[in-house]
Assembly symmetry: C2
Homo-oligomer: 302 residues x 2
């Protein structure tokens, strides 16, 4: 079982073409939904009293929500942002932490045997603490964001030491490693302890670092982008889900499988951004996913 | 034989780490040198009375210079630019057209049978005119730059109509096609007439468009960049040279060969930027090139 710990949000997203208010969002939501096509997923997170029942019902059909706490006196984490004309730059209009402000995550009993953990861009100290609640996790992967790198850099590095894999975007990698060259960043991140590092470059794909191996993987060429929110989180979820579903043993040193899992992560990222919020992740079928995955692999065959 | 038409320059290049004055540069210089590892190359261009003999001697050993005119009363095209700390943004300090100002290129008799033409980022009307001087070219590939797109957009499109392939960078493609989505740009460029389009994205690799096929190819992961000047031109030269050297017939519809040629173009681009100016293109051997090419192919095998 995969446990995902991270934010569940209500997002207001504004593009020059459309505005959608209070759609379901959050790093853990995207990652969980993307992973759920391949593996059972248990969520740890918190929502407030304004989280629509209709959203909860949707999640409930796909995920184990035992670990999703509902706070009756506070509101759900809310994020309002705008994209520019080419949908490549996001401006934050408003961030209301609400329920996240003093959230102390609890790991339900039925989760503690989870062998696989994905820790989204949470407070790194919280991520470290939560790892210790699991009995014998075989694969722990984490992400982080600029805010924690700037405010808790040492904790971010300590967290990475405790994981098997780091999934991080290019700007965050540069900031954390204080280098503009992503190859140098990847090597440096590996030196912090994880077995593998995936640097996400948005539409340009990813750089994958594993031992001495560096593998550049281009993005899937997508013509229609509606809302870029959640691409990276869906990538992480697709990656984890595919990796877990197709592993042969629990050592995760199969380079080919790691690479295929990255391709599947990219595929899930592309679906996520074809509609607003998580809409597309509820519309697609496993067959849609596998078709795109095969097409992608065909494109990349050299 | 491959004929390359374009600028030969003296470049002053400033990075935060080093300044080099009046090194040999120019789009045609980089492209010709990169191609010369794979095919005989004839250059068409112009230099002034300040072009060092030592540079001329270097070029002479690698290229047919019958079409390189030396102007005795003017200076060589000069370009002074600075890179920022992460070597990703260039600022132009000074552009002196000098000999390029009223240059009317002449195609030497011994060039007119050239079957392969690479037309660098010259005035598109000049590129169109020069095509007509060749007897029966089988493969014509062109590049362009922002300046011509802004000032002679119709000519740029007319030029593309007359070519088999367009090699263009991402910003230029967006500007010409008035779209931020590079997949849309690629399709639009194909609609102008060429059989294939290569959109260069710097370190992020290229997007290759051919009929209904779109192939994303990631960049070769390079840890040490010294001077990014000439990457795109060396890409184009390496691409043309490899394509010509390995073609089975003159129709150029072999997708695998086009793809391999793109990989070789990328390899030549990476060598170019490992030293200042064209230095590295004089240092490397064919064996260095083939080693990196094989390593790259191995990285990309899915």
């Amino acid at each position: 079982m995969l446990t995902v710990f991270g934010s569940v949000a209500l997002d207001t997203t504004r593009t020059p073409f459309e505005v959608r208010e209070r759609v379901m969002g959050g790093a853990a939501t995207y990652a969980s939904l993307a992973a759920s096509f391949f593996s059972p997923v248990s969520l740890i997170g918190v929502i407030g009293n304004d989280f629509p029942n209709s959203y909860y019902t949707l999640l409930e059909k796909r995920l184990n929500l035992e670990g999703l706490v509902r706070h009756n006196n506070k509101k759900t984490f809310f994020y309002d942002s705008s994209f520019d004309y080419d949908l490549s730059h996001r401006t934050t209009n408003l961030t209301e932490l609400n329920v996240l402000e003093d959230f102390e995550p609890v790991v339900p009993k039925e989760y503690v045997d989870s062998k696989y953990l994905y820790l989204a861009n949470n407070d790194p100290d919280q991520n470290i603490k939560i790892i210790s609640k699991f009995k014998n996790p075989q694969l722990i992967v984490c992400d982080t964001i600029e805010y924690w790198i700037e405010n808790k850099k040492a904790s971010v590095i300590s967290m990475m030491k405790k994981t098997h894999g780091v999934v991080i975007n290019d700007q965050e990698a540069r900031l954390l490693c204080n280098s503009s060259n992503l190859i140098k960043c990847g090597r440096q991140l590996l030196s912090y302890g994880p077995k593998f590092v995936v640097i996400k470059k948005g539409e340009h794909g990813v750089l994958f670092f594993y031992d001495d191996v560096i593998i550049p993987i281009p993005g899937y060429p997508l013509e229609t982008v509606v809302d870029p929110t959640g691409a990276g989180d869906s990538f992480a979820g697709g990656f984890m889900g595919y990796l877990i579903a197709n592993k042969k043993e629990d050592t995760f040193n199969d380079t080919q499988l790691l690479k295929d899992s990255i391709l599947m992560g990219s595929v899930m990222g592309t679906f996520a951004i074809e509609s607003f919020g998580t809409d597309k992740l509820f519309e697609i079928t496993l067959s849609d996913i596998l078709n795109r995955f095969e097409l992608y692999k065909k494109m990349l065959s050299v």
